[in-house]
């Protein structure tokens, strides 16, 4: 038994089935814990009062929106290079959740910007590049939907993902490269976080909850895709009969 065992769809189907409950419950518990910190332990902010609590959703969602895209690009590249079926399935399973998080990041950003900055939306570099990310997600999903042939769809979608990946570093560094209205990042590897410890803790717990949620949802989706594509095989038939 080695790592490659799980690269086969049949084995991965079983493994994913075992992992899903763990990640689902993990996501739920972490979300409860994170929300408890966000609303009951984290104190009022000195300048933004209670409105800052949107950060507990906004920042994890924004992180996930970029991170999921990079993971999709990674799986796409692996699939294109080594022709591994499972990587394409992973990329497909992640996209809708990535789009959801991008939308949430934009939505919560607007609701945060209106009371704090005084505008729902400004066309600064950070906001614009995040909007482009949403368009990219939508385009990739639409391309997959338009191509009936599975193999062609996998490859075409991955190529589009790869060419759009250049947008992610632009989003991330936009607040550094340009003077935007959007504030800089509070978390930075180079310096101490500019947040009170309990606030930081709440944000990180929410971020990990978002991670767990993404993994759980992606695994459920990838299981469906595997079953759909492997329906001709004996093991898939057996699973369908037993379930």
């Amino acid at each position: 038994m080695n790592l490659y065992t799980y690269a086969s769809p049949a084995n991965f189907y079983v493994l994913a089935g075992k992992l899903i409950p763990w990640f689902s419950w993990g996501a739920g518990l972490l979300a409860v814990w994170g929300l408890y910190i966000s609303f009951f332990l984290a104190p009022t902010d000195f300048q933004q009062s209670e409105a800052y609590r949107i950060i507990f959703i906004h920042v994890p969602a924004a992180w996930m929106s970029m991170f999921i895209y990079l993971v999709m690009a990674f799986w796409g590249a692996i699939g294109l290079a080594f022709n591994t079926r499972l990587s394409f399935m992973m990329a497909r399973a992640l996209a809708p959740t990535g789009a959801l998080f991008t939308f949430i990041a934009l939505w919560t950003g607007a609701l945060w910007g209106k009371p704090m900055w005084g505008a729902w939306w400004v066309w600064d570099a950070r906001l614009t590049s995040e909007l482009i990310l949403l368009f990219l997600y939508v385009g990739i999903i639409a391309l997959w939907a338009a191509i009936d042939d599975v193999r062609r769809g996998d490859r075409a979608g991955s190529l589009l993902t790869l060419i759009g990946a250049i947008n992610v570093p632009i989003i991330y560094f936009s607040v550094k490269w340009w003077n935007t209205l959007h504030q800089g990042s509070s978390i930075n590897l180079m310096k101490a976080p500019s947040m009170a410890a309990i606030m930081l803790q709440g944000m990180l717990v929410m971020a990990i909850a978002a991670w767990f949620y993404t993994i759980a949802v992606a695994l459920v989706r990838v299981r469906r895709i595997i079953l759909e594509r492997e329906r001709q095989t004996d093991w898939a038939k057996a699973i369908l009969e037993n379930e």
């Binding site: 042939d149 599975v150 001709q232």
Partner: protein
């Protein structure tokens, strides 16, 4: 298969959900013709597209001079010429211009006298400066055949080369194939029509949803 230039190893092909064939093996040497036969939708065209390298096999590989065509790619394409259902003839160009582009595509300088001679040999002397749009289907097919002849490739891969050709053209085509084979060329072709090819080494390959035994 020591002298097989083109060989196929454990080839499997699927279109969409359907497995068309698997475990296909054969080899083709100089001066040999492979006739691919089978009913509609059994994978004849799919096999030819695998042999050209346009499509990717589900399993197995196609080799040219012992190396996978994925690896040798462009060198293989220099020795191979494909004629599909569509002629690849531009309607807005006249036959000579079409051949000029075909030459440029292979990185060769254009030899006008040779091109005109080939077109005349194929019975197109009266259409040399007409746009291909006004030519009949059979005439356009002949333009495509002229490009095939000029390419000077060792291996011809022909998908239904006889469709749309009249009796004279069929005889002409048979002659071309025979000449090509006697000159040491190789042909892989699909056809529904009978070909009169006496004195030619013909392999027949039945494509269908059954495992095909090795032919050699």
């Amino acid at each position: 298969m020591p002298d097989a230039l083109l060989s196929v190893h454990d080839l499997a092909c699927a279109r969409g959900e359907r497995l068309l064939f698997k475990g296909m093996n054969f080899g083709l040497g100089k001066g040999e013709l492979l006739l691919v036969q089978g009913g509609n939708g059994q994978g004849k065209t799919s096999l030819l597209r695998l042999l050209t390298g346009l499509a990717r096999p589900e399993e197995g590989e196609v080799r040219w001079r012992g190396e996978s065509i994925r690896r040798v790619g462009e060198a293989y394409h220099g020795e191979m010429c494909y004629l599909g259902h569509a002629n690849g003839v531009k309607d807005d160009l006249n036959p000579v211009e079409n051949l000029r582009f075909a030459d440029g595509m292979h990185g060769r300088a254009f030899d006008q006298t040779r091109a005109v001679a080939t077109l005349e040999r194929l019975g197109l002397s009266r259409c040399l400066d007409l746009p291909c749009r006004v030519l009949s289907f059979g005439q356009r097919r002949r333009v495509a055949l002229a490009a095939l002849l000029l390419a000077g490739a060792t291996l011809w891969i022909l998908d239904e080369p006889l469709t749309g050709l009249d009796v004279h053209a069929v005889v002409l085509m048979e002659g071309l194939i025979r000449n090509h084979l006697t000159a040491g060329g190789m042909v892989v072709a699909t056809t529904h029509q009978a070909l009169n090819l006496d004195g030619v080494a013909v392999q027949r390959l039945l494509v269908g949803n059954v495992a095909i035994p090795a032919l050699m």
